[in-house]
Point group: C2
Chain length 185, copies 2
């Protein structure tokens, strides 16, 4: 028989839905103001039917030059990217673009708190990984015999597991508090 | 004869173009990381033609719940809205939504620096107005005999004129430095 699960799990919601719900919780309770950015779109054609809303009839997805989420928490600038993978043993680095790494590095240089939230959906596990760890793994891929992915064990060892909870769903700011402590050590 | 203009003017670019160029300048010189957010869109239908990019064939504009621009500057969270008006004597408050005011207020509560950048395009003048001033004028509109717009004289007296320059086009961070000083007094 299946092992009975303890605690909360993701219950079929996407990582993005869980994070948006978490951010709503933080906003409502005046804990933080963090939003998902809209998806960047290149609009090519718009119709203006009389008496109704403008209708976009031709548009294309653009590559994001920044990350999914940003905002402010207790005076700190927060910036992160959220990703899901069905892999069980590692997280493929091709999930990120050069631009996103440069963006996060520039934010860290300005004093921001940057990280990634990764869900291993098959394992039902979510981790937070500080930008410094991501950056180390990103850079090694270009070396001789560099790995093209971050092993799961790195998330366990150098990341923080983010357990599901009732409210908020994914209380990632608890881990952000830790990232801030580590940085200011 | 027309009075000869001194200094730089907007040269037919929109305020958004001027600000984006300014932000590129700041990013390149590692002065700040501030981006315009993508326009929020509700996507209804997408075609996936073989061998070409996904094409969005039906989508609608959504009302923005936050502001145009945000990012980080020297450890400070920066959040602002940019607006143009052809009015010469005042700036109509209907240019803002409730949601945008609440958003800026929440950011200020978290320690962020929030303001608006307003261009009076007919006068070729740009001003920065701190959120605290906007908020005062926003609130008075609901009082008896409240004004529905912010008089131009308020921008001159309680705002900061933002002169055009060669590079960056609109050096608004010089004024942000002043807003930070004022706040921390
Ligand atoms: Mg993502
Ligand atoms: Mg605007």
């Amino acid at each position: 028989p299946k092992k009975k699960k303890t605690g909360y799990s993701n219950r079929g919601m996407t990582l993005e839905e869980d994070l948006n719900q978490t951010n709503d919780y933080y906003l409502l309770r005046k804990i933080a103001v963090i939003h998902k950015k809209p998806i960047p779109i290149q609009i090519v054609n718009v119709d203006y039917p009389s008496r109704s809303a403008a209708k976009i009839t031709e548009a294309y997805y653009k590559k994001a030059s920044t990350t999914d989420y940003n905002g402010i928490y207790n005076g700190y600038y927060i910036d992160f990217e959220a990703k899901e993978t069905r892999n069980k043993t590692s997280f493929p680095l091709k999930n990120f673009h050069d631009h996103q790494l440069s963006h996060m590095e520039a934010c860290v240089d300005q004093g921001g708190i940057c990280f990634i939230v990764v869900r291993f959906s098959t394992l039902d596990k979510v981790f937070v990984l500080d930008f410094s760890v991501l950056k180390k793994w990103w850079d090694q891929q270009f070396e001789e015999k560099g790995k093209k992915s971050i092993p799961y064990s790195v998330f366990e060892k150098d990341g923080y597991e983010l357990p599901y909870s009732l409210a908020p769903r994914l209380p990632y700011l608890t881990i952000v508090d830790q990232l801030i402590v580590n940085r200011d050590l």
